[in-house]
Symmetry: C2
Subunit: 242 residues, 2 copies
């Protein structure tokens, strides 16, 4: 289905030899787990403050990025901090313990691969050097990669704390990869697409139905210089047509 | 001072071209910060239980490695969990908030390079390819590397979740390094020395005055097949003599 990929102002000859995939919400569902945990958390706190939204939690998360980075443990410390704030310190120990239990459940939650991933990643691996480039907590990400059953298909796995142009440049230099032959595939414009375009490499955006507020960017269609595919299936067809 | 390095059953011809350093308690002090924070924490909890030692906290840390891995955030969640346990849930929100503040102070604590490091790492970098191979939380480690001012001297920086023989093998293969030409330098027998010896590479142990209980191993001197140096200065002299 070639119609499920689109591109604007994108006309380069491509000779892609390496494809790097983002992991969370590109290969497997992730944001859903944070959203579900947040709902549980809001219920737990309902007795202490009625009719509050998650804005205070999101503010704590943003404020604490500088201390704790991304991932389940930082999210959990922000949940605990916010629980103490919104309850004016009244939240009892057993409810804090329940929040820590939510974190443990998240760490060991079953992993759901997105449609096409289990079938097509092994196929891509026959034709391209595959890399996995993911952002976040090392421990969380390694646990998910192990559970995904996909590790063997990736020549290199890089877990970085921020996906900046510099971070991509370092990864490519380290493996001696020419940006012109490198394609990054991911769901986040901010982390997977814009920094990759910035270093002269190629990028395919596969949007996910949920986007973490922190990752959101607004760019009008006519300014986009990357491809957009509906799914990994569409990516496969688009690559096959090149 | 050649006498400050010693070796048993170690007689190989060495042609070292790459030296990899561990970071925490090899290049800079780290365990001290955990020990100091733990003392603060014990004082905070003193009103809830008199005369307790840290055994319960250490048990929580070990139990939670499987959920949270190494690093400040996992340590903090274990401190909070233990505080709820030892106080029978009586610990108030403001004291939990104080524990989270301890974590934030740890993240941004000043970094103290160990003796000789600031002077000798740039010298080593002129003669060898230097790598940094460290275990733990990605966010914590990157913050410390940035603050150390040493990042520019290391060709490769690898942050891994566990230092197993397999992890070292992967790093060496990735950079096309022959184990015979590779020397690892670190303070932990369990993480920096034994797995490196196991893959046929070289190792120099520089003991630190504090060892985290989790890293402790007992090996009689006559079974040791690595060098032991008192400091980075001694390592420098030992290398100069080869």
């Amino acid at each position: 289905m070639l119609e499920s990929c689109s591109a604007a102002r994108y006309n380069k000859d491509m000779n892609i030899t390496t494809i790097a995939f983002d992991a969370d919400d590109t290969l497997w569902a992730n944001e859903d787990l944070f959203v579900a945990t947040q709902q549980q958390y809001m219920q737990l706190l309902a007795p202490y403050r009625h009719n509050w939204d998650a804005a205070e939690l999101h503010a704590a998360e943003r404020r604490n990025l500088n201390y704790f980075g991304y991932g389940i443990k930082g999210f959990t410390l922000s949940m605990i901090e916010t629980a103490i704030e919104v309850s004016d310190g009244a939240i009892p120990g057993r409810d804090i313990a329940a929040i820590i239990d939510m974190a443990k459940a998240m760490v060991h939650a079953p992993l759901t691969l997105l449609p096409g991933v289990a079938e097509l990643i092994p196929q891509f691996a026959q034709k391209y050097h595959l890399m996995l480039i993911t952002k976040g907590d090392l421990f969380d990400q390694e646990a998910k990669i192990a559970r995904s059953g996909l590790a063997e298909y990736f020549r290199h796995i890089d877990i970085v704390s921020e996906k900046t142009p510099h971070a991509y440049q370092r990864i490519l230099q380290r493996s001696d990869i020419n940006p012109q032959s490198f394609l990054m595939v991911g769901n986040s414009l901010r982390s997977d697409i814009l920094p990759v375009i910035a270093i002269g490499a190629h990028a395919v955006h596969i949007p996910y139905h949920l986007t973490w507020a922190h990752e959101h960017v607004d760019i009008p269609p006519h300014e986009r210089s990357w491809h957009e595919c509906e799914s990994v299936y569409a990516l496969h067809d688009w690559l096959a047509d090149r």
